[in-house]
């Protein structure tokens, strides 16, 4: 059973500059992993790439994205 799913994707720092956008919305009817999402927004070759789902950093690219999730694609942090 597949349901419609809408995901908010955020881009930061050099990634936002490279893509020329700071966010987009991704709509799909298929189950999607974080890895699938990264590919769908054209960032598969962005390295290193940090990821957060709903404002928690994650490392498992196989995690399934859920409807309503906020997924962030981030370059390495450089605060402090």
């Amino acid at each position: 059973m597949e349901a419609h799913m809408s995901v908010k994707v955020l881009f930061f720092g050099s990634i936002a500059d490279r893509l020329g956008k700071r966010e987009c919305s991704l709509d799909t009817d298929k189950a999607m992993t974080v890895s699938d999402l990264v590919a769908a927004v054209g960032c598969s070759d962005f390295e290193p790439l940090l990821l957060a789902v709903n404002r928690e950093q994650i490392s498992d690219m196989g995690l399934l994205v859920q409807d309503g999730d906020e997924v962030a694609l981030m370059p390495p942090f450089s605060g402090g």
Partner: protein
Amino acid sequence: MQNLVKAVRIQEEDFSMEAEVGALRAISGRIGGIATFLGCARDFSEGRDVFSIEFEQYAGMAEKAMQALRSEALDRFDIIEARIIHRVTTVHAGDQIVLVVVGAEHRGPAFDACEWLIDELKKRVPIWKKEMTPDGDSWVTQHP
């Protein structure tokens, strides 16, 4: 007046070290040792031409990550209180950027927690800095 009630803050405006240390000390009379770390923008004229540094944060996550760091520090170390303030704005040479203040009964844990907090902040808090140079803007990718 800044809202000193919040021990963890991301803000544009400058902060006062003395006020933050005072707010930390007001928490408990048991505090005997206070370790602080203040990070500030260096004089860019020596070796590298940088006009200014711009900070960007993931607004929904950065302060939350800093709050988690404070909680973890309070669990991990024998300390009484910790405060973390990070500015996200455009800074110039000499400007204050980040302040960590840790109060403990004794100095060892205060130092350990303070250094751990700034180290982990650089690893875990989604903040980025971009340097403005004569040749254009350049994102900083390292956290030395």
